[in-house]
Structure formats: C-alpha cells, structure tokens
Amino acid sequence: MIPHADDALRMLSQRLMTQLLPDLKSLYSLSDGALIGLLINAIADEMAEGIQRRLDDIAEMKRIFIAGEALLSSKDKEVTAAELSSYRLADVNDHHDALSRILVLLHEASENKGFEALNQSIWTYLRRHTQRHKITAVP
C-alpha cells in the first residue's frame, strides 16, 4: 500500500539516479536512465496535481464559455454544460480536451468578430493554463 504514490515515484527516481545509474558503464544507458529519472519526477508531479490543474482549467474555461455564449453552437453548449463522468485523471483529461477544442473555435470566432474582451480573457486563461501546467521537475 502506497498512500502517497507521487512521493514513492520521487524516491524511486532518486534511487535510480543516485544509486543505480552510476554503476552503468554505457554512456548511452546512463544518459537515457537519467532522462527516465527526470520524467518519473515530472510524472510524480502530474500524479499529485494533474487532476486539480485540469479542474482549475475547466472551471476557468466554463466562465469564458458563459461570456462567449453568443458565439457557441448549440452542440458546443451541450458539451460545455456536461458534467464530469468521474474524477479519474483520464476522464478529467477527456473532458478538458473536449472543452479545449471548443475554446480553440471560440478564440478564432472572437478574433473574427472583434470580441476583444473575450479574446483577452482567452489569452489570460492560456497564460494561467501554461503557468499551472509548467513542468518544474525537469531543468
């Protein structure tokens, strides 16, 4: 039983990089192993924070969709109004993707129709989105 899987991954990554890799003779394996170790750290962060990051994105996108309702199709409105099917990362991710697809269309429509405030709010969201998802585990 590992209650904190992200911490467990970080510890395993550290063990890989500090205790196992130094014994490797091939420079290729050493480099590849180090990269895998860094990726495990990034995955640990995603495991710990990934769902919440996406939920924050989803909440913010939904506010944008309300502001841009006039530019959404009825089908898009159905998608934006749908509830999450579960809090599993894969399901949250699918929902996030579905909303992001609509965001791309709304962004384009806001440019074409001169909805400047809406356009600005989408850029602000994109800035916050990239800050939320910034990968710090890999230098």
């Binding site: 091939s26 590849d32 990726l39 791309v104 384009e108 440019e111 850029w123 800035r127 990968i135």
Partner: protein
Amino acid sequence: MITTDQVQIAAAEYLGEKWGTSVTVCNVEKIFGGASRETYKLSLEVDGETRGVILRRDPPSSLIDTERHLEYGAYDRIYPTDIPVPEPLFLENSPDFLEQPFSIMAAVENPMSDVAQLSNDQKQKIGQQKYDLLGRLAAKDPLALKFDEIMTVPKVVSTAAEQLAYWQGIINEDEIHPQPIAQAAIRWLAANLPPPAQKISIVHGDYRTGNFLFNDQAQITAILDWEMCHLGDPLEDLAWSLDPLWSGEELALAGRLIPHGQAIQIWCEASGLSCNEQALKWWRIFVSVKAVAIWISSSENFENGEGKDAILAMAGWVMTDRQNRILLDYLAPEVLS
C-alpha cells in the same frame, strides 16, 4: 531493437564488402541524443590502420519523419564546400543488414558539442563561427550544388505559406490534445505572411547549438543533423537558431553563445542579405510552431507505442510545455499591441 553486437557484426561484413578488404569493428558505442536516427560510433581497423565512422540507422519511429536520402544527399552536396560536415561514405536503403536502412559517415576527431563549460572567450569564438557559417550557407546557390535533384525548389513568394501549411498539417494530424496556443499562432501567421524571401537558400532546418561539433581550439569542425534540410527562406534558419528554447536561462544569448544582435549582424555580413525585423518576427513565431509540431509528433509516436525512447516523451511533453510559453510571450495581446 538491435544490439551493439549485431551492429558490430553487420557493419564489419558491410564495410568489408564495400571496401573490398577485411574490416574489424573493434568497438561500438551507441550515442545518446540522436532522436531522429539511432546513432553508433564505430572504431575500425582497416588495412592495419584505425579509423572511426558514424552509423545512423533508421528507427521504427523518430522525432522527425524524414527521408534518409534527403539527409544523405544534403551531406553529399555540402561536403565539398567550405561548410564543414562529416564525409558521407555510404547510404544503404536495404533492411537486409541491420533490419532498417542506415547511412555511414566518417567520424570527426575529438568532437565536442556541449558549450556549457566553455569560457566566455570560447563561446564568443564559436558563436561568431556559428553565424558566419550559417550566413555562408544562406549565400550559396542551391541549384549550383544540385539540391534541386533531391528536393523541391519553392518560389520566393510562396515558401513561407507552404512551410506554414506543411507544419500546420503535422499538428492537425498528430495532436493528441487540442493545442489552443499553437492554433492561435497559426492563425496569426496566416494573417501576417512575411514579404517574399530575398532568395531561395539551403535551409539546414535544425541549426542550433548542439547540432555542430567543435574542437579544443574552439573551431567548429562539423555541422550535423541535416534531416530537416530543405530549400526556402534563409531567415528560417536564423530564426530557429535564435529560439529561446536553445538559450536555456541565458535568454539574451543566441544558443548560449553570443548576443542576438551580434549573431544577426554576423549573419547579414556573411550572407550578404538583410534582416527585415517584421520578417524575422514572422519566422521566429513560425519556428516555434514548427517546433511544437515536431514535439507533438514525437509525443504521438511515444503514445501510440511506435517509439519507446524517453527522449520522445521528453520532447512531446516537456518541450511542448516550454514552447507554448515561448509562443505566448510572442503572441499575447499585451505583447503584440
């Protein structure tokens, strides 16, 4: 997946047949970082003499889905010029020897590629050569070097739009997740196409620190990785080399070597071309989109199981994240206004 032992046996047989003499492969070392091809350094004994060669083997998947004959053809045509590249030796299209096609080039002696440990003077020296060489490449006549035999010659008026359409297609085809930032960038690029290219040049396609070798005298000895070589606007290479992704924390330095302004000035002097600010801005945004496309492609390869190299996951995830932030810094309304 093949082992270094397999490479050792097959290379000895292949080179022995090609050179008509006995070849002993003394050592095989797989080189890390060759994400578009598996790369091996081989130490040989041929007729009592030792020499090194580099073998590049097509993997089942790569960061860049390129055709090997274009890359090899580029090496073949550049090698006789004043642009230093490794000597191309053989291109083998048959999978009979190593299960995949491969190429073999002469190894460069005492190669170094990591600039992190260099002194400022050494960085300055290498940076000047890097942009002088890029300018000289831009100045060359691709038709005189017979590049038209291996790749399409675009028109000066349409090369930017064609490049944009190509990489947009890659993003649309390979994206696993929607890419709102890249899509916004593509719309901006389409609406703000640059003036016609000053000329059609040989574009290396991945000209950056890390893709050239230098020696302990801080002399650039070989420019590598021509797999994305094409003909087009020479500003593309300049823009790619200036991308913040290659600068690490030293954003004021082009490829962690010399200041951007100095790099551009050297390039202009060596190429005899000018550097229109608006056109360069377009190409800088374009190369970030192109980079996103490459990282997305690698991510798709990793996700669908075609490739299992960690470098594919790293590119597809970590580098897309960084590249998106670079694009935001170019395109957000507060920057553009």
